[in-house]
Subunit: 196 residues, 2 copies
């Protein structure tokens, strides 16, 4: 099997497991879902399940390892000399476009997270890991220390806040596209947050 | 009793309950603390406890109602024509100065939150409530809609991210003061996040 084909098959198996986990959690409640049931629904063995996810909660949330995160890949692939805020914006735009391929999955996952505190804790931990990983990447680009210099954390934290606001406003009103809202919120950041 | 004296006595009782709750949670673990024990340690009745906090977890975290939040008061008291980012900065600086009056309390509370997921969930909910309240206040100042306009959420979210980074870097290194780090992170926001 070629490298590319193998990678594609792995991504398909991961997606099948995450979809099965989400569907089962939605139907029976996350507490009543087992790894065995998820594996069976995806047509693989429980042993194979653990090649992709460490726990059923990770599968339900579709939490991938950071080194397999598409958002991270999008950020790493941006030109080295691009302004950090522009690189972050491009990565988030690509990530949100993928999400819009299947908005229903996003809505169901979000509902589960809101209803089950232990999933909310796991999700918050994943978001924090992802944020830290982006801080490390931005720091590396600038030759800064991710833990002892402020800039990488501030630019990533502000970008993530802007993305959260754009998504929330997009959910609240149908008269504005997500692309337009992304333009607006990142424009506010690059204009130094002067009031409109 | 005068209005001012009554308010001061209420603040003292609230602080005594929160201190007792934190000390007991630290000593016995939050799961083994009861409202009765907290009330007894603070020298009030359980009934009085519930005038100040709805649950023992709220007392352990010192979570006050939003309309009693000092951070909110600091923000509301800023001049109406001040730039939102400057008003937020001033409110956060005042809040952090209060926290530095008793850094030990902050450290103990932070450790409990890190060790007990249900406290982390409660704390995250409180932070989200506080953030939303600040968004509502900034929106009111500008005549914007807090849920349908992006600017209030972006400026508050970016400011909160900057504060988190300043505090984390301050914990990681002793050679820089918190005041200096606040100057730096808010400077980065007002400069449009151009790299240093």
């Amino acid at each position: 099997m070629s490298q590319g084909l193998r990678e594609r098959k792995k991504a398909e198996t991961r997606a099948a497991l995450a979809d099965a986990a989400l569907a089962l959690a939605d139907e029976h409640g996350p507490d009543r879902v087992t790894v065995e049931a998820i594996a069976e629904a995806a047509g693989v063995s429980p042993r194979t399940f653990f090649n992709y996810f460490s726990t059923k909660d990770e599968a339900i949330l579709g939490v991938v390892r950071l080194d397999q995160s598409p958002l991270r890949d999008d950020l790493v692939s941006r030109p080295a000399n691009e302004a950090p805020l522009d690189a972050l914006r491009a990565a988030f735009v690509a990530s949100v476009e993928r999400l819009q391929d299947d908005p229903d999955r996003w809505v169901r996952r979000r509902r589960l997270v809101q209803q089950h505190p232990h999933l909310a804790v796991r999700w918050a931990a994943h978001t924090a890991d992802l944020e830290h990983d982006m801080v490390v990447e931005i720091a590396a680009r600038l030759g800064l220390d991710p833990d002892r210099d402020t800039y990488p954390g501030v630019v990533v934290g502000a970008a993530m806040a802007a993305v959260r606001v754009a998504m929330a406003v997009w959910q609240a009103r149908s008269d504005r596209s997500l692309a337009e809202l992304f333009d607006e919120v990142f424009g506010q950041l690059s204009a130094g947050l002067t009031p409109p």
